[in-house]
Symmetry: C2
Subunit: 156 residues, 2 copies
DNA sequence: TATTGTTATACTCTATAACTATA
DNA sequence: TATAGTTATAGAGTATAACAATA
């Protein structure tokens, strides 16, 4: 599948596959540039994001982030040194710890999320409102169909 | 901007911003899973991809990949050890080298690209042909508008 | 002097394996 | 024994700074 598109100087054919890949890299770059303004790597940002609505154990975090528990342990330690998260002994299990955002961590993740929201809105505003709405709707349906096809509930 | 979407069990609101981010991560994961079947990291894959139609100098590669030249030098060295690329003295400049794919590197990058193409097609086929075409077209226009807004010529 | 590329060094991120403490 | 988490270790990836060779 290819699509004819207009640039100011020429009309080119961009395959749907290339488009998907380029869009993915573009979003990734925007997000990681925003995070780095707060001195955060993508990994640190994902960690903080995963803690926004939860106070999970290290194991639960490892599942959420799809990383080995040792990798997560390191991420937590570096975030802890920077005062962004804290480890609390689990009340239920003497072996486990609960990881949660500090006040500072919560503030950081809120700022990054707000900035990224603004970036994404400004990106989408390159299209007309009608086109942006259509794009958002199609993406949502694609994600829903993919989650469905893989037995994953994106919206748990 | 939010969009109502249907999952088999519920209707949820997914913001356009969340949709963009999730789509980006999904594509990234698909691509990196494909690359890793050939023992390639994303960085190595990007390097090989950048060499598909070019035999650039280290400096030119650094600009293309938006990395420091020392980072690129390391990427090249590791790819060279694995027989995927080679360094050739530049005919024009005694200080420079030209980096190019070996036969093996070319074969690898072709396979990864073909696999990813298949992945992307199968992802898009979760939508109707009409919707997939519309999505591809909107993404293309968004990318073109972004390139235009940033004075970058995506299609050089 | 300026530029091209490599190397030395340091840090983040990731995984595997070995370890401890608890269940 | 099994599980939760940490630590030791190794390697990729990245950047900065110092360097050698060439322009």
């Amino acid at each position: 599948m290819t699509t004819l598109i207009q640039s100011p100087t020429k009309t080119v054919e961009l395959s749907a596959v290339d488009g998907l890949a380029q869009l993915s890299f573009l979003i990734h770059d925007v997000l990681s540039a925003r995070a780095s303004r707060y001195g955060l790597s993508m990994s640190q940002t994902r960690l903080l994001g995963a803690l926004r609505d939860r106070a999970p154990s290290v194991n639960e975090l490892a599942v959420l982030l799809e990383l080995d528990k040792s990798s997560v342990s390191g991420l937590i330690s570096r975030a802890e040194e920077r005062g962004l998260v804290e480890r609390v002994p689990s009340p239920d299990d003497g072996r486990a710890v609960v990881v949660r955002l500090t006040k500072r961590g919560r503030s950081q993740v809120r700022k990054v999320a707000a900035d990224f929201e603004a970036d994404a809105v400004s990106l989408l505003s390159l299209l007309s409102y009608k086109d942006a709405s259509a794009l958002a709707s199609l993406i949502s349906r694609l994600l829903a169909a993919h989650a469905e096809a893989h037995g994953v509930d994106l919206f748990a």
